[in-house]
């Protein structure tokens, strides 16, 4: 990595670390879902930006991660966040492999429709089998212990803007780093090749389906980690997390930040959450405003924010 971007990165990380000291409590709690979505989205972008597959059912894995934490903390009494995250990752892997095996055989619109169908299937399941899943009321999430520390002496807000904030940030850095290494490795190159020209890749001996599956499963695992973090401040995992419009928002966030750039999804997560918060406060017609933003994005600025910043504003992939 070049020096200047590295410097910018370090500055940003430092700025994030300072957030609990600088911003009022409410805005600190707002950064938490941004971090959670950040992790989920860099996973999503592995599938979309780097492998060229647009999934419209990614919310499934976020919901899966959320429910895993909910069940573990409130029903099984396992409060270690580390164990919870591990469970979320394993769970999503187990579910993503069969779904992935089915879906990666198709591309483009069929891939999108299949993933949407699976997402809604899970949503229906969460809703209908209420004995198991709590139905529309969902399942509670008990405050997990971070690194073995029982922090129940802190009130919820202090917990969230303090230890949990840094824990989430730490996870973002770790998972971000892992993803960075992945996309800059031969794996990443394989995926980009498959994205740009699958037939040629096949011809060159690259096992297209296999790599797509790997990408799919990794993105699912990242989604689950994001979901696990997302649900702790709320204290509840509910079926709406798996609804197809939630998947739509995930795509929205990624495009907003810029899918052509590694950091795009993280920027997108922050931008979307900040934007939505301001819009909701401003007007009850915030969905319209968001719609306008998305329209402008798709038509004028398909490279997203990062595309604008790095002047790589083409709608075609091939960046990074």
């Amino acid at each position: 990595m070049k020096f200047k971007p590295l410097l910018i990165l370090v500055v940003l990380i430092f700025a994030l670390c300072m957030v609990p000291f600088v911003l009022p409590a409410y805005y600190v709690t707002l950064v938490l879902p941004a971090i959670a979505y950040g992790i989920a989205l860099i996973g999503f972008n592995l599938l979309f930006g780097y492998t060229g597959l647009l999934s419209f059912g990614h919310a499934l894995y976020i919901a899966l991660g959320a429910y895993t934490v909910a069940i573990f903390t409130s029903r099984l009494g396992i409060t270690s966040m580390e164990l919870n995250i591990l469970a979320a990752v394993l769970c999503s892997m187990v579910i993503a492999i069969p779904i992935g095996l089915l879906c990666v055989r198709y591309v483009r619109i069929f891939f999108g429709m299949l993933t949407l169908a699976f997402g809604m299937l899970f949503h229906s399941f969460l809703f209908k089998f209420y004995e198991l899943t709590g139905g529309d009321s969902g399942i509670k999430v008990i405050r997990p212990h971070l690194f073995g520390q029982d922090l129940s002496h802190l009130d919820k807000t202090a917990y969230l803007i303090g230890p949990f904030f840094y824990y989430s940030l730490f996870l973002l850095l770790i998972f971000g780093f892992i993803m960075w290494r992945m996309v800059n490795s031969p794996l990443g190159n394989h995926l980009k090749t498959i994205r740009d020209n699958p037939r040629k890749a096949e011809y060159l001996g690259v096992k297209v389906h296999q790599f797509r599956l790997i990408s799919f499963v990794i993105s699912a695992m990242y989604g689950a980690v994001g979901g696990a973090l997302l649900v702790v401040p709320v204290g509840l995992a509910d079926p709406e997390l798996a609804y197809w419009t939630h998947s739509g928002n995930i795509v929205f966030m990624t495009i907003l930040g810029g899918f052509n750039h590694f950091f795009g999804p993280i920027v997108g997560a922050f931008a979307f959450i900040g934007l939505k918060d301001q819009l909701v406060t401003l007007t009850q017609y915030w969905r319209f405003a968001l719609g306008v933003v998305l329209v402008l994005l798709v038509i004028l600025l398909p490279g997203g924010i990062m595309g604008l910043l790095s002047k790589k504003n083409s709608p075609n992939r091939g960046g990074d």
Binding site: P24, A25, Y26, Y27, T29, L30, S74, F127, K128, Y130, G135, D136, S137, G138, K140, D155, K156, T157, L230, P233, V234, G235, L236, D238, E240, L241, D277, V280, T281, L282, T283, Q284
Partner: protein, 432 residues
């Protein structure tokens, strides 16, 4: 300050009008701390503004605005005017975030609102953990009540959801005993619907009524296409249909049921129909249905002057009649007012009471709500007056009203403090 004005303006210019009007009114406060009089009391409201519960949220908002207007006109709460900040109740995650904003950013003195059982259950731990005085309008269900918050300090909840189911069941037994052998249920597919249906059957068992369930439908909340469900109910030929449908799907159900001939010769029990009362037109809504009006029957013959004033005001302003959510919202505000004033008096010259002190003062408080007397129990569950009756077409409206209308205080309809609902059902002394 500027941001707040912008918020208010974009929210409700109406409220700003109220604020201005009340500032002009003379503060008729005696012996209350003079220092606090300058700063208004901020109350955050969380109400649905979109979706199937939008009309309910709207009615509740109108009720609380009426309450605030009256309070501010007569000097406010302990001399301080009330100012509302309204946020939208949507799903659990987003509503919890708006709640956080109200408490952390807007620093409100109290949060009131919430209609959905799911969201209220989800938010309860957050309310306690953030130590924010909160009074729910509605949505108290049995599920998870025990695990969630055994001894709440800051959270006050409405009467149990099951009250209307219990009262409907009692009325069904009273009026229809011996007239039905088979029953069917069509209830919204979420905790409220399931609890209602379960409570109905439990009460039938308790009173030794023999029955057979011939059909059970669980339409997804908000589904407007109920023709298949109705066809299925018809095929089962039930003597009695129990339905806790309460959103906009209810008038659609009624109209289609009537068109399909389902309303002829079938008894209906509808604990929550009051929400849609003005949409249940006489053309397709039969007489003789057990109809739940919850805590407000706008047409009640012996209504209090307060209720009459409110109904008149509501009709003049909105050309419509209020449902019970307005009463719940009014009740919550009254409870807050009474508790605050009690705590202020107790504190005397010691300044404004802390949140914990106000919360303690609210325990056991008695107030007069739109629909009649009510109170807040020591275990933070409300007690209110409930109205249900048999529908009739003999009125001056184009929709059904009830006559006769039974009135019961909720201590006959909900479990006492510390007791499990199902155990209470089996063992308590319940009169018809």
């Amino acid at each position: 300050m500027k941001k707040k004005l912008v918020q208010n303006k974009n929210r409700r210019s109406v409220m700003k009008g109220f604020g201005a009007a009340s500032l002009l009114a003379v503060g008729g406060s005696w012996g209350f701390p003079a220092i606090a009089q300058n700063r208004p009391l901020k109350v955050g409201i969380l109400a649905p503004r979109a979706g199937i519960a939008a009309t309910i949220g709207e009615c509740g908002l109108r009720g609380v605005l009426f309450a605030v207007d009256k309070i501010n006109k007569s000097g406010g709460i302990a001399g301080r005017k009330v100012e509302l900040i309204v946020e939208e109740e949507t799903n659990a995650k987003d509503t919890t975030e708006r709640f956080r904003k109200l408490v952390l950013q807007d620093k409100v003195d109290c949060v009131q609102g919430l209609v959905s059982s799911g969201v209220s259950l989800a938010m309860s731990p957050t309310v306690e953990e953030m130590k924010a005085l909160t009074i729910y309008w509605d949505g108290t269900s049995q599920d998870g009540v025990k695990e969630t918050i055994p001894n709440p300090k800051y959270l006050f909840r409405s009467t149990d959801n099951e009250c209307e189911a219990v009262m409907s069941s009692l009325l069904a037994i009273k009026y229809f005993k011996g007239q039905f052998a088979t029953i069917a249920g069509i209830n919204p597919d979420y905790s409220y619907g399931r609890n209602n249906w379960a409570a109905f059957q439990a009460l039938l068992k308790r009173f030794g009524i023999q029955y057979k369930v011939v059909a059970e439908q669980w339409p997804k909340v908000g589904t407007m296409d109920l023709s298949s469900h109705i066809a299925s109910l018809k095929a089962a030929k039930p003597d009695l249909i129990f339905s806790s449908l309460l959103f906009a799907d209810l008038p659609v159900f009624m109209q289609n049921a009537h068109a399909a001939g389902l309303t002829k010769g079938t008894k209906f029990v509808m604990p929550a129909a009051g929400f849609q009362q003005t949409l249940l037109k006489k053309e397709f809504t039969p007489e003789g249905m057990v109809f739940g009006l919850n805590t407000l029957d706008f047409n009640y013959p012996n209504a209090t002057p307060l209720q009459k004033e409110f109904v008149q005001h509501y009709f003049d302003k909105f050309k419509d009649y209020p449902n019970w959510e307005a009463d719940r919202a009014y009740f919550a505000m009254q409870v807050f007012k009474a508790g605050t004033e009690k705590a202020v008096k107790a504190k005397g010259a010691g300044g404004w009471p802390k949140t914990e002190e106000i919360a303690s003062a609210i325990e056991g408080i008695q107030v007069e709500s739109l629909g009649g007397p009510g109170m807040m129990r020591a275990d933070h569950i409300a007690e209110q007056t409930f109205y249900q009756g048999l529908t009739t077409h003999k009125n001056k409206y184009d929709f059904v009203t009830t006559n006769p209308t039974d009135k019961k205080f909720s201590n006959e309809l909900q479990k006492p403090p510390g007791v499990d609902f199902w155990q209470w059902l089996e063992t308590a002394k319940i009169t018809l």
